[in-house]
Amino acid sequence: MSLGFGLGLRPPHYSQVAETRPDVGWFEVISENFMVAGGRPLNWLERIRADYPIALHGVSLSIGSTDPLDEQHLIALQRLARRVQPAWISDHLCWTGVAGNNLHDLLPLPYTEAVLAHVVERVRRVQDRLGCRILLENVSTYAGYASSQLTEWEFVTEVAQRADCLILLDVNNVYVNSVNHDFDPLAYLEAIPVARVRQIHLAGHQLRPDGLIVDTHDSPVSEPVWRLYEHARRRFGDVPTMIERDAQIPPLQELLGELERARSIAERIDLESRTQRTPRAA
């Protein structure tokens, strides 16, 4: 059974979540924020974990970097997973730095067979290490590469199929990239294998005067993204869905309101699907 609708758990909401236990199916936390020895952050996490399933969402696995996988990071992730017993572990299909540096950003990969082979081999090693399949999220990108031979959706699909990992489908990022790189977002959704999608992200973005969109997570989910989510719900069904907000974080009630909109869209789509499947009386 799906975990339903969740939220990104952020520090301004810790106490309210722990004390009021809002009607949310699950929470996602940024793994790195809890890779600490102890103290208040882990205390909040354990209190909230007692009431809700938790998904661990990393931002620095750097699965596409040509630097070696960071052994210390994997140890810290394993330790956190043992402590939290997460519903699943996810990170991003990107790289974050090279030559020992970290740019703390989700950077684009060229979509080529060679890069595919490089990433697939590393995903397998991480999954072997963690003892579970991981989810990789499609990221927002601003620059693409002249050397790319595959579309983004082909690349995402091939990584998931060849490495036998799962997909965290960020619907906002699909929309952002469709504008930034001028493709049809519906074609993207149609190409992603349904069985691989384990989670959906929704978030806000900012449209710049030059027409590029930046994935800022600082505003409500936009109308085009809500419309794209309807298509995603039709295609992928009852996949756990959550809203991310990382800047200009509003009161919890406001996010719960947005989540309610996701629920009502899902209920409407599910009802439509059931109606269409029901045979008409003769």
């Binding site: 970097s65 040509t66 090279v98 060679a114 693409g144 030059d210």
Partner: protein
């Protein structure tokens, strides 16, 4: 060279060119970016975002420094970011060298309160998410037999930090935390040691006298209680040693500064 190595080299070269643009503005990667006309505009989103994210991380870790530095905070932050590219997976640790940077880099080294505040706030951060441990209590000490006391070794709580400051930045830190207007930072005639502890997940701090700080520091070096008392007698005099030992131990227990004890062989 095998084919896969060559391919990996290609990706590594590309990633280095990309990173060089973000860190140093080297335009070589622009040839790799699709859509040459807008390549620089697109790459600048990454290049502008990098210092912005690190600056936000510094502002989160150093609210007191931001308060006393005012408009200079962004400038000193960007100087630190330029001098210290991140090599860390976790932004939590990015600001670890800021105090040292401010103490050794003009013009900020001319304002010692900046490095002091950074030192103080970093110590608070270390205390905040240090390993959990139960604080030692008077009741637990009550169960120790008189014959074992000379061999007692006290263990500081993992969240306990000591930091010596040449300015009264903890006062400024408290004022900014309460949202109050900041008074000018005062310079101390001699460095003042501060004790930071964590009780009920809350970091607390207080100034110590130089003798108390020296005694606490010695206690944390796994000196036995007998050794420690002997050195305390030299510090405060035989007549005052027992009273002073009891007073300080009680204070440290109340602070939650100690986590346990062991017995020396």
């Amino acid at each position: 060279m095998t084919q896969s190595t060559a391919q990996s080299d290609d990706l590594e070269s590309l990633q280095r060119r990309f990173q060089d643009y973000v860190l140093h503005g080297n335009p070589a990667v622009l040839r790799d970016v699709a859509g040459a006309a807008r390549a620089a505009i697109k790459m600048d989103i990454y290049a502008d975002g990098y210092p912005q994210r690190l600056l936000e991380a510094l502002a989160t870790d150093y609210p007191g420094l931001k308060a006393i530095a005012g408009e200079e905070f962004n400038e000193l932050g960007r100087a630190y970011i330029a001098a210290c590219p991140s090599t860390l997976r976790n932004l939590r640790w990015y600001g670890q060298n800021l105090a040292q940077f401010l103490a050794s880099t003009a013009p900020w080294s001319d304002r010692p309160e900046l490095a002091d505040m950074a030192r103080f706030e970093w110590a608070m951060g270390i205390s905040f998410d240090a390993l959990d441990a139960t604080s030692l209590t008077r009741e637990a000490l009550g169960g120790i037999g008189a014959q074992d006391w000379p061999r007692l070794i006290f263990l500081p709580h993992p969240a306990t930090q000591c930091v010596a400051l040449t300015t009264d930045v903890p006062r400024a830190w408290s004022a900014q935390a309460r949202g109050e207007a900041l008074a000018p930072v005062q310079h101390e005639p001699v460095p003042v040691p501060w004790l930071l502890t964590r009780r009920s997940l809350q970091v607390r701090f207080r100034a110590m006298g130089p003798q108390e700080a020296a005694a606490f520091d010695r206690l944390g070096t796994r000196a036995s209680f007998a050794q420690w008392c002997g050195e305390l007698a030299e510090m405060v005099g035989e007549d005052n040693a027992a009273r002073q030992a009891v007073e300080w131990l009680n204070q440290w227990l109340a602070d939650g500064a100690l986590a346990g004890f062991a017995l020396a062989p």
